[in-house]
């Protein structure tokens, strides 16, 4: 059986989520092709061709694909599906947008955000914001799967797969791209960052949040997150929110500053490799999931941490 992976890219370059999804795909089948659907994707396709284990790379190009319009990407993938038994898609905002459409049009059940492959038909996925794990077996002849990339190791590079162009499909006649506003931040993206520094309600104001959390994040090259309490109080914008109703993150290091650890926040970060909690309340639930805790007021602890990081050459 052959499996198609749909690459994550920004037209110009290929993203690491692709490598991780290839790893998941190789657990399903030895015959893995990668589709790079976009516009001006030659470099991204060349990068995909180097991923070890990839049989061939397909490119599809059109203006609608360049904007990653869901209807267009789904149409392009759907046309390729007669040749594949499964399609695996990184669970990014692009992947989550188009993959269920492919499933509906194939009349199969989509399998969302898998974090483990048991066999070619059986997968493990988080439900209830990761408070439970569901092992599901698909009875469908073709499978449409989105992959939580943080759960898989990136496939290595060293291959040289052939690249061939395919039909871009019918586009999206009823959907028009108007504009985009990609935030130009030197900080990494929250969902993909290796280190996340999050602030909670203890910050007390938006000014304090900026003053305390951001310099620490920048010193560590980290993304900035926030608890729902901090967002609700207006200390941080909503897209910083980590939790059940916000973003689910699983960085190497998560530093929670002045966050008590409400269930809904824990649901969004408890898969982090290492969790550090800084809170002056020794009984705060965040300490029950933290690997390292500092029972201290953030007002003294964060400056001390900055200094200690500096002393350690960071």
């Amino acid at each position: 059986m052959a499996v198609l992976v749909v690459a994550d890219h920004d037209n110009a370059s290929l993203k690491d989520n692709t490598h991780k999804t290839v790893t998941a795909a190789l657990a399903v089948s030895g015959e893995v092709d990668v589709l790079v659907a976009g516009e001006g994707v030659a470099a991204a396709a060349a990068a995909a061709a180097q991923i070890t284990g990839v049989r061939k790379v397909l490119t599809a190009e059109s203006p609608a694909l360049g904007r990653q319009i869901g209807e267009a990407v789904a149409g392009c993938v759907l046309a390729l599906m007669p040749g594949y038994d499964a399609v695996l898609v990184p669970a990014t905002s692009v992947g989550k947008n188009f993959a269920p459409r492919v499933a509906a049009l194939l009349d199969v059940a989509p399998i969302s955000e898998i974090q483990a492959v048991i066999d070619a038909e059986t997968f493990v996925r988080p439900i209830y914001a990761g408070n439970a794990l569901e092992t599901v077996k698909s009875a469908d002849a073709k499978k449409v799967i989105t992959v939580r990339a943080t759960a898989f190791k990136a496939a290595e590079e060293g291959g040289a797969a052939p690249i061939e162009a395919v039909d871009p499909g019918p586009g999206a006649p009823h959907t028009r791209f108007v504009s985009d506003e990609i935030v130009k931040s030197d900080r990494p993206e929250l969902a993909a960052a290796k280190i996340v520094v999050s602030g909670g309600r203890a910050m007390g104001s938006a000014e304090e949040f900026h003053r305390v959390i951001e310099p620490l994040a920048d010193k560590l090259g980290a993304a900035v997150g926030a608890s729902r309490a901090a967002v609700d109080a207006g200390y941080a914008p909503n897209d910083y929110q980590v939790g059940q109703t916000g973003k689910v993150v699983a960085p190497q290091l998560y530093i929670a500053v002045g966050i008590s650890g409400a269930i809904q926040h824990l649901a969004g970060m408890k898969d982090s490799k290492v969790i550090v909690a800084i809170n002056k309340d020794a009984d705060a639930p965040i300490f029950q999931v933290a690997d390292y805790g500092l029972v201290a007021d953030y007002k003294t602890a964060v400056p001390a941490l900055m200094e200690a990081l500096g002393a350690a050459g960071l």
Binding site: I69, G70, E71, A74, S93, V94, K96, N97, F98, P100, R101, A103, A104, L105, A109, P110, S112, T122, I127, Y128, N131, L133, T135, V136, K137, A139, H174, T175, R176, F177, V178, S179, D180, E181, I182, V183, A192, I195, L220, Q244, T245, G246, L253, A262, K270, D271, V274, I275, V276, V289, A290, D291, Y292, G293, L294, V295, A304, A308, A312, L314
Partner: protein, 249 residues
Amino acid sequence: MKVLVPVKRVIDYNVKARVKSDQSGVDLANVKMSMNPFCEIAVEEAIRLKEKGAVEEIIAVSIGPIQAQETIRTALAMGADRGILVQTDADPEPLEVAKLLKAVAEAESPSLILMGKQAIDGDNNAVGQMLSALLGWPQATFASKVEVAEATVRVTREVDGGLQVLELDLPAVVTADLRLNEPRYASLPNIMKAKKKTIDIKTVDDYGGAGAGHLKVLKVTEPAKRVAGVKLETAAELVTKLKTEAGVL
């Protein structure tokens, strides 16, 4: 313009889901249930569009057990005009939900379907996209701003790293993300008024029936529990641990 808002009854987002000891699922007995938070945002957005004069009628539809009437009643108390319950005690898969909603949409002919991007129980994030595909209507998921014109809707979408603005021809399907709005609390007079609004109780067969399931849940387990670590005295000690013991710096 008529707007259809699908709403789902789920475990309240403040309640921790507990896995049953026989691994057959999550224990929902005696657990507080509420409207899915993203559905609430969709209801709120429909009401705001109505308050602006862009929408005449809001229909809240739920697919679920008889208790899902309470969820519809909440939508009516917030300001939706009438409700439809497609009653079923089975827990239909997203694909079946999308098919039933397609049949509801064909019967009601809304110009816009506004719904939550995902339910916080199954976390599939799929029904809106599938409904759009089955209907052949355009879609805009993860909306943080919705502006309705006569024959189009302009939607600002939350995408990784920023925002994307799309214009769709109506009819269309739009799914709500967190930043779209802050849902209102229903006032007491509106809760009283909602009791007089109609909820049509239908069956799955009224909308073409439900197909067989495609996915078999083999087991539901608890994720590996984290063990509380150590409390350290100083920031310097923390940095040392992170560098040497954890190796994450």
